[in-house]
């Protein structure tokens, strides 16, 4: 991974990396300034007022309110500027854009299992097109991990039992480090990989060259059958003893007891693992818990199936490929996922 032209700064390969570096330079500047100022004054005083004779006693100086206010107000203002800039950048970065491509990431002790919504599966490698907003939906099968891409200046913990989100838009094609940045045991330092950013056209060839077995939405539909969800939600989620799931994702759901929640990934996961926690109004909690019977990956597949249930009835697999691309038909046998690069 080559460093950029500024020494000691990592490759800048995402839309936010430049902004984070700018803030880093500002803070470095202030730190160097204060360090030089203080050590400079220190050295000057230590030399100028060195003890000349063992018997001298300098006149005491109690202090001055003016100076005290000066060197608390000014650092406070500087501190607030640092806070505001950092918080603003963070707030913008933490809101995933609406139309981003969704890629699912499952962290498992010492490897990253990645699945594109068009079905491609990768281990410890993530191919993404440059210039496209990518949203990572991440969960873990065991301990806490952390999906860290230094070149994009982003990281987020990956926790068992919940989904965490982060997004990026890569700007420069190339291969960048992927590190696990939350200690997860024996091979924490081996849970690494690479992010391969490609020109959109090359990405499309890669996509078709690696057509998946089946998209998660299709796999999800099969699970919807095998787990018995159909008996209460209908074959295509049109509803029955349980509420209709068509068009559920992203909609407002009113619950018994009056609150309304947005049906996001967390809500759907909770509805499957702990259905009684939030009961849809007008229903009583007869839905059993599927906690422990569904692996995080199967959960992702059910999730994509429910997301694919648009109001237009029949489930249309969501193509995350650029709109120009025809449906990814599973033409060629898939190349075995690239060996886990140590």
């Amino acid at each position: 991974m080559q460093t950029s032209w500024i020494p000691f700064i990592p490759e800048s390969a995402s839309t936010v990396s430049g902004k984070v570096d700018a803030l880093y330079f500002y803070l470095s500047g202030v730190t160097v300034f204060f360090t030089l100022l203080i050590s400079g004054v220190l050295i000057f005083f230590v030399i100028k007022f060195r003890r000349r004779s063992p018997f001298e006693i300098p006149r005491p100086i109690a202090g001055s309110y003016k100076l005290e206010t000066l060197w608390s107000v000014i650092p406070f203002i500087i501190a607030m500027s640092m806070f505001a800039w950092g918080a603003q950048l963070y707030f913008v970065n933490s809101r995933p854009p609406k139309n981003a491509n969704e890629i699912y990431v499952v962290g498992k002790q010492w490897m990253w299992k990645i699945q594109h919504s068009t079905g491609q599966r990768e281990i410890n490698e993530l191919h993404v097109p440059a210039g496209r907003k990518i949203k990572l939906i991440m969960t873990s099968e065991d301990t806490i991990h952390d999906f860290f891409i230094p070149a994009f200046r982003i990281k987020a913990d990956v926790l068992p039992g919940k989904y965490t989100m982060q997004w990026f838009e890569a700007t420069k094609p190339g291969t960048y480090h992927l590190f696990c940045a939350e200690y997860c045991g024996m091979n924490h330092s081996g849970m690494i990989g690479s992010i391969i950013v490609m020109q959109p056209t090359d990405f499309d060839n890669w996509l078709s060259g690696n057509a998946s077995q089946q998209s998660p939405a299709v796999a999800g539909q099969q699970l919807f059958q095998s787990l018995g969800c159909v008996s209460c939600h209908g074959a295509n989620g049109e509803g029955g003893r349980g509420p209709a799931l068509v068009g559920l994702f992203g909609s407002k759901v009113s619950l018994n007891g009056g609150q309304t929640v947005i049906a996001d990934e967390a809500y759907i996961r909770e509805s499957i693992e702990n259905p009684a926690a939030k009961v849809v109004s007008g229903f009583n909690p007869i839905m059993p818990t599927f906690q422990g019977q569904v692996t995080p990956e199967q959960l992702i597949q059910i999730m994509s199936f429910i997301k694919s249930l648009q109001v237009s009835g029949a489930p249309a697999p969501v193509t995350s490929a650029p709109p120009s691309k025809a449906d990814a038909s599973p033409a060629k046998s898939t190349a075995s996922p690239p060996p886990n690069r140590q």
Binding site: L23, G161, C180
Partner: protein
């Protein structure tokens, strides 16, 4: 030099707290706060060496990108045990239990701490905690990181998590008892005339530290118990499989562990306030601001723990609140740094070893502290969290800050503790070696950190090797530098020049009794009539002013 009227008659100097009694029992069952301080000094130095050996192992391992010296499992145990021993068994007790125990009663004119028996009990509890932790290390070690994050520590680690946790749990009570003893002593046992604003700033700093010890330590005690309970019962409140939340553990852990870092640095700030004022023979600039800034750090220190959870799926809004408060908590530290610097203005500054450590502290604490501001700024922390940038930040402020304060204080009060002078030449030389070694060890880690080198990695991509080689080179210089005081301080106990009662000619109450002091510190309860750091009574001040070389009526 005008001698400060002392409260001891020369003949009394022969019998002091060291030779008052002999035999092992007189040490192991002592109730004298000074002897207990020495017991702590011995045990703390032992643990510092053990922690240091682990540090050397880490640096040796990281010399090469591949993990070839230690297996990854062993390396995980080494950095965990380095962290646990250095934090809980060296730095948290270091100044309060040694210099604090020795000096708090003396500086306020008391005969001993409020509860001498509880003071001895706190040493035995510390020792028991240490023994349990050493057992955990020898039996197989613990590999959860010093942070013990769940679910790794409860379900996935098969190392001695409960034993190590028990060791820390027990040592926590030693910290609580020390804090309790200091608070009660400072409130109820000040000599007549020793009002709050005549107290040396060393006492203010220890008062603030004790507040943090009392209010914070119980929370980590219960957190460790809950973790052990969950690890034993395989079910509990942190395991997501049954509805628990691992982030709750992080909230409970950091509720204590951030204030704990102020337990580590506040006593050193107290030492530096003493050193800067006394070695420039001037009262501290803005005494009340520096005193109250210690309290402000202790109180605000409890409002910022969430800055350790910025990337741990904490809500965005809670992150903003914690980020704002983390910047606010920096202001009292800024006030201290500027007041120390202002104290030097028009002072009469001497370059004795303690002063070198104090000046080193100010410089390195500024760097360490301001890199904390990088981490408090959300957007940057997202990039550098869990990288070597964090390792560099906390070593700069714990080793460059707290350890330098400890070494400075150790040298400054060594004549009072041992009755002997340390060799000044070696003192200054080792201080410089340590300063150079320290910077070479941890400055490159900032760079490796921003470049993205993750922490707790036993193997790393080759492009980070240059920084690790520099850091390991620095560590060997630092390690060598630290050996020198270890040697000459022990040497000085027998062969050092005998120290007078007031070798630095200072107004502090502890310098107005013999070196080493008698068991009851002062033969008669002193009556304090002078302000803090008052080098000459006000009425003489107009005459003296800044004298070039006219000797003052030297009473010595």
């Amino acid at each position: 030099m005008k001698a400060f009227e002392t409260f001891e008659t020369p003949s009394a100097a022969r019998v002091n707290y060291i030779n008052a009694q002999y035999g092992l029992k007189s040490w192991l069952l002592t109730k004298d706060h000074k002897r207990i301080a020495l017991l702590y000094l011995g045990s703390i130095s032992f643990f510092f060496m053990v922690g240091g050996v682990y540090a050397m192992l880490i640096r040796l391992e990281l010399l090469t990108p591949q993990g070839d010296l230690l297996s990854s499992a062993t390396y995980n145990k080494v950095f965990t045990q380095h962290g646990i021993i250095m934090v809980f068994f060296f730095l948290i007790p270091s100044i309060p239990a040694t210099l604090g125990n020795f000096l708090v009663p003396m500086m306020i004119g008391a005969k001993d701490l409020a509860f001498p028996r509880i003071n001895l009990l706190s040493w035995y509890i510390y020792l028991l905690g240490g023994i349990v932790t050493i057992y955990a290390l020898l039996a197989g070690g613990v590999d959860t990181g010093w942070t013990f994050y769940v679910p790794y520590s409860t379900t996935f680690s098969n190392s001695y998590v409960i034993a190590a946790g028990l060791g820390i749990f027990i040592s926590g009570f030693s910290s609580i008892l020390t804090g309790l003893n200091f608070i009660v002593t400072i409130h109820t046992m000040r000599a007549p005339g020793m009002t709050w604003f005549r107290l040396p700033l060393f006492i203010w700093a220890h008062y603030a530290t004790s507040l943090v010890m009392i209010l914070g330590t119980p929370v980590i005690a219960i957190t460790i118990l809950l973790l052990a309970f969950e690890r034993l019962s395989h079910v509990g409140i942190f395991d997501p499989a049954n509805g628990g939340d691992p982030v709750l553990f992080q909230h409970l852990f950091w509720f204590y562990s951030h204030p704990a870092v102020y337990i580590m640095v506040l006593p050193s700030m107290g030492v530096v306030s003493e050193l800067i004022a006394n070695f420039s023979r001037k009262n501290i600039f803005g005494y009340r601001f520096v005193a109250f800034s210690s309290l402000a750090i202790a109180v605000f220190g409890f409002l910022v723990w969430g800055h350790h959870l910025f990337v741990a799926s904490q809500s965005v809004y809670a992150g903003m609140i914690f980020s704002f408060l983390s910047f606010a908590v920096a202001i009292p530290s800024a006030i201290k740094v500027f007041n120390w610097t202002a104290t030097l203005y028009k002072g009469s500054i001497s370059y004795d070893t303690p002063m070198l450590y104090a000046l080193g502290f100010i410089g390195l604490f500024t760097i360490g502290g301001m890199t904390g501001l990088f981490l408090a700024s959300l957007a940057i922390d997202v990039h550098v969290s869990d990288t070597y940038f964090i390792v560099a930040h906390f070593h700069y402020i714990m080793v460059g800050g707290a350890l330098f304060g400890y070494l400075g204080g150790l040298h400054y009060w060594w004549p009072k503790i041992s009755g002997r002078m340390y060799p000044e030449g070696w003192g200054r030389f080792s201080a410089l070696v340590i300063f150079v070694g320290f910077n070479l060890t941890f400055l490159p880690q900032f760079v490796a950190g921003y470049l993205g080198m993750p922490r707790r990695y036993h193997a790393y991509p080759p492009e980070f090797q240059i920084f690790n080689v520099l850091s390991s080179a620095g560590a060997s210089i630092l390690g060598f530098g630290l050996l020198i005081p270890a040697i000459y301080l022990v040497w000085s106990m027998r062969y050092g020049k005998h120290a007078e009662a007031n070798p630095w000619h200072l107004p502090g109450l502890e310098w107005r009794t013999a070196s080493p002091p008698p068991t009851e510190n002062f033969l008669t309860t002193p009556i304090v009539t002078w302000e803090a750091y008052e080098f000459a009574p006000p009425e003489e001040m107009q005459v003296i002013g800044r004298m070039k070389d006219e000797p003052v009526s030297s009473g010595q």
